[in-house]
Structures are given as structure tokens and as C-alpha cells.
């Protein structure tokens, strides 16, 4: 599987993102979010292009892409499942839920199933601390998630 998007489209996507945030102060994060929204990840080939457009060094852009957990340099699965590992969810079985998810998907934290369907990720707090364990599937938040419910949610997402 190729992790590099073809150069033509990447260039267009970057141009659109830069154009959309022209006039915004310090717009590198919104631009990276826009690129990732379209491509699903931030391919390494974007970095020098973006650096050129924004008059930044490649190191500066690379530094930002790699600092933030959200920005991926490889494509994620078709659906991303984030299981909360923070204190409030741990108090009601969040760690066991994460272990269950890893075992049933056969991946480690941060990994993607071989068929490219599901990426399993950890997250530290989804702001649903009174209704844990909390899980985010795509952009959608779920509360009081049992192992059986998680399996069902992942099944729907596939």
C-alpha cells in the first residue's frame, strides 16, 4: 500500500488550504487540519510545499506536524476508534475496555487492522467523565461503553 498521495492533488489541496486561511494569523494548524481533512493524513510530501508557501523552513513545518498527536503522516483506517485512557474512565473500567478493543481487533494502540478498516487509538479525555467509559468513533462520542457495545459500534463502523 502506498502511503504517498500523488504530487498533483497534494499540491492542489495545499493551495486550497493556504488560500482558505489567507489573512489568518499564524495559520499553520488550521491549514494542516484542512489538509488532513481532505487527505486523511498529512503526507510527508506536503511539508516542503507548505514550507515554501508559508515562508517557513521545512524543519519548522515538520516540527509542528510531528508535535501534535492529531496529525498523521500515514493514512488511518476507514474508521478511527479512540478509547479514553484517562483517570475518570479508568475508574469505571476504561483500561479493560482498551485491552478488549486491542484483543478483538488484533492490533496494538495506534495500529490499523490489516484490512484497513479500523484504526484503534488512545485518547486522554473526551469530556464525558460522568458517563464513562467513553469512546469516540469517528467524530461521534459514546458513553457507558461496555465491551459488547464497543464490538457493535466497531461492527457498524466497518
Amino acid at each position: 500500500m502506498s502511503i504517498e498521495a500523488p504530487p498533483g492533488p497534494v499540491d492542489e489541496v495545499v493551495s486550497r488550504a493556504v488560500e482558505a486561511h489567507r489573512g489568518s494569523r499564524g495559520a499553520l494548524l488550521p491549514i494542516l487540519h484542512a489538509v488532513q481533512e481532505e487527505l486523511g493524513h498529512v503526507p510527508p510530501s506536503v511539508v516542503p510545499v507548505l514550507a515554501g508557501r508559508l515562508n517557513l523552513s521545512t524543519a519548522e513545518v515538520h516540527g509542528v506536524v510531528t508535535f501534535y498527536r492529531d496529525f498523521r503522516t500515514t493514512p488511518p483506517g476507514r474508521v478511527t476508534v479512540r478509547v479514553c485512557r484517562a483517570e475518570a474512565c479508568r475508574a469505571v473500567g476504561g483500561e479493560a475496555l482498551m485491552e478488549h478493543a486491542a484483543a478483538s481487533l488484533g492490533v496494538t494502540r495506534g495500529g490499523t487492522t490489516p484490512d484497513g478498516a479500523v484504526t484503534l487509538d488512545e485518547v486522554f479525555c473526551l469530556g464525558n467523565c460522568a458517563l464513562g467509559p467513553a469512546v469516540q468513533v469517528g467524530d461521534r462520542l459514546h458513553g457507558r461503553v461496555t465491551p459488547a457495545r464497543l464490538d457493535a459500534l466497531i461492527g457498524q463502523g466497518r
Partner: protein, 499 residues
Amino acid sequence: MKVFVPKDSAAVSVGADEVAELLARAGAQVVRTGSRGMLWLEPLVEVETDAGRVGYGPVAPEDVDGLVAAGMLDGTAPGLGLVEDLPWMRAQQRLTFVRVGVVDPADPADHERHGGLDGLRAALGMDPADVVTAVTDSGLRGRGGAGFPTGVKWKTVADAESELKFVCCNADEGDSGTFADRMLMEGDPFTLLTGMTIAAYAVGASEGYVYVRSEYPDAVAALRTAIVAARGQGWLGESVLGSGFAFDVHVRVGAGAYICGEETSMLESLEGKRGTVRPKPPIPALEGLFGHPTVVNNVLSLASVPTILADGAEAYAALGVGRSRGTQVFQLGGNIARGGVLETAFGISLGELVETFGGGTLSGRPVRAVQVGGPLGAYLPVEQFDLPMDYEAFAASGAMVGHGGIVVFDDTVDMSSMARFAMEFCAEESCGRCTPCRIGAVRGVETIDRIRAGEDREANLVLLEDLCELMTDGSLCAMGGLTPLPVRSAITHFGEDFR
């Protein structure tokens, strides 16, 4: 018949969208609101009646048909009774959260009808310096956790000479056990915008940014909708409420870095850089965003300002204890029977919050520990349940009120694993700028692992204490500086878990 169903993401996480859709199909006029904060009752459906709003909850999608058949839509089916009369609601003093769960967060007219603009109108009728004085006199302290007097910060920015000043709202609510910022942004975003506008008017700022964590997509959407509506109403823009004062707000989304909740990291991130901590001084009030004087306040600090201006500093300062004035929005989470948010004056005891409001644990087992103030806050045993919620009383007990989040654990918790997690979290989320935090946290995990494995326990406990002291004294910011708080408090109060 009008029914209210929360669109708050916590309510949606347990089925509120499905319930709203079924009610609409049954012929109800559904209004989507924020949540009242009684999250154990979500999805909580409220039906408008002549006597007030009658509540039903938790309502599962499969309950809807039966409830409608029993007369829910005219409020006659048996339910919770009037929502305002529920003990959880009656025991509160809701000022900052007064409209959350009541109004339609996307409707500016609803906001105004519920008094949402009173504070802004009052402020614009005053001299900016008097607005700063009012906030100082109210005793309001930073609700993000540090508790710095808001008025003092504003005065510093107001007195700074600059063509350009900013108001930045820290909505990077990354602490586990805290979700009040999210609920306010989703349930009453205009109040935050109004608070930011008052701050800008007081200090002479023209641009505002709300930095929201990416884990909160619904809050981002609610804020963006509210900003567009506020511009349309003339509440933001070239002349706020026709006063000639110009101010606008932009939303910026974080990218999954806990450290960006630290104010200087947040500023770096807003500038499009890696979110590393800046040494202070210079303080952001003098050299903040892009080097200009900047107010950096938490969501709840800013959202408390409109009520202070509307009802006067004295009314706000009359609530609370000691130097902790006004109300705090407390959040009950973790293993708790009745979790959610509640707002009441400072001074309420920890035990009242956990037992009276929270009803003890969800599991029904005894409470063993509570963590107050997020992942950097102390773990406390039930023996300290008489502690009043007060910045100074908590500090004197080696703990912190922080953002008012309380996470409850039952007697099955292994506190050495929680101490290990505190170090693991710090290692994962450290920005890497200073060594005590970046390296110390990794060494902390290793040392706790050795203690847990029974390797040379006493010597490793001494080593861990030494490491905690170094991290506390030598770190640049609260991440490395306060990670020892949960670790040390776990050892102090639950030492048996380390033996």
C-alpha cells in the same frame, strides 16, 4: 407541545439524538438545548407545561413510544416532576450556568430573552477602567485551575501600551474529570462570547481567539454557529451593540496536545508553532500572542464575567468563603452514581459534593479515593471529605481545587497504578522543553514499576520522592511541576498499595 432534548455531546453519547428524532416523529416540537448537568439522567427530556418544565429521564429510544402513549407530551405521564424542583437543581446557585440546559444555544433571541446581554450592556455603559475594577472587586479568580485574580490580570493588560491587544480563551480542557467548559460552549456559547467581549472592552483589545481542543468537535461547531449569529446580531464586529467598540472572535482548534492547555503553550500553538512552554517572564499579559499584550482566561472565568457585570461585583463577592469568592462549577466524574456538573458557592465540602450530590459510587462499593483538580491534582481519602472547596484550604492540605473536577474511585482501585499513570501521562504529554519533566516522568514510570514489582522497595520509594522533589522545583510549568502531586498524595494516603 414543546419538548426540550439536550444536544450536549454527553447526552448524545447515550442516545439523545435518537430520542429527539423519535419525539419529532411522534409530533412533538423538539428544541435542542444544552444539558442541565444531571448526566445520570441523560437523555433527560423536558416537556413545557403551564407549571414549568416537567422532566423524564433517563429516556432510552425504546422508552419513547410508551411514554408518549402515557401522556408524556402534555406532561401528564409519571416522571421526575418539575426539573427546577429536583433536589440537585434546588441545592445550586447557578450564575455562570444559569442558561445552560434551558436555552437553545444556536438562537440569539433565546439568549437575549433569558437576560444574556445584560452584562455586556452594563459594561458598555461603563468606563473600561470601571469594568476592570468591577471584576477585581468581584473576587473572581482564574477558573482554569491556577486561581489568579482575573481583575489583576486585566489591569496589567489594560495598562500596557500597544496598538494591538488580544483576548484568548483557553478552551483546551484536557484534564480528565473536567467537562464544564465543554458543556458551557455547547449549551450557552453566547455567554462565553459576551464574556470575551467584555474583557476586550475592558482592556482595549480588538481580536479574540478561542482555542478549543480537537476532542470537542461539537463545542467547536456550537461556537462557530454562535459567532456567525453574533456577528449577524451586531454583538460582534465593527460596532458591538452600536457602541462603536470593535471586536471579533475566531475559533482555533487544537491538535491533540494536552500541554496546550498551559497558557504559553497555547499561545505558541495559536501562532502556528509546536506547543512548547515559554519561560515566564515575560508574562502573557505584557508579551502574549505574537508578542502583544494578551488576556488569557479559561472558559469559565470569561463566562462568569457577564453575571458579575449584570448583577454587580458585590452580589458575586457576597458568595463564597475566604479568598474564594463567588461560585464554582463542580464536575463529578469517574465511578459516581450521580455524575455531572453543578454550580454552587465556594465553601461546600468535598463530602457533600461526592455523597450528597453524587450519591457515592456507581458500583455501589465504598469510595476509596477522589482526585480533585484533574490529572495534576492530589488523590484524597474519604477522611478528608470535610475539606471545604476553597483554594487556600486545599493548598494547605497539599491538594488543589483546580478546575473543580472531582473523579471518584471505589475500593477496587490500585493507587500505585494510578501513581504510575500520572507519570506515564506526563511522559506522554510533556512538551519536552525542560528536562525534569521530559526525562523525570520517564524515570518516574520506571521507578514505580520497580516498586510495584517489589524490587528494592524502600530505596526506590526514596528515589521516587527525590525525583518528585526535583520535578516540583525544577520544571518550567505545572505539567512537570504538579505531576508529583498525585504521585506523592497516593503514597501518603494509600501507602499500603506501594508495599
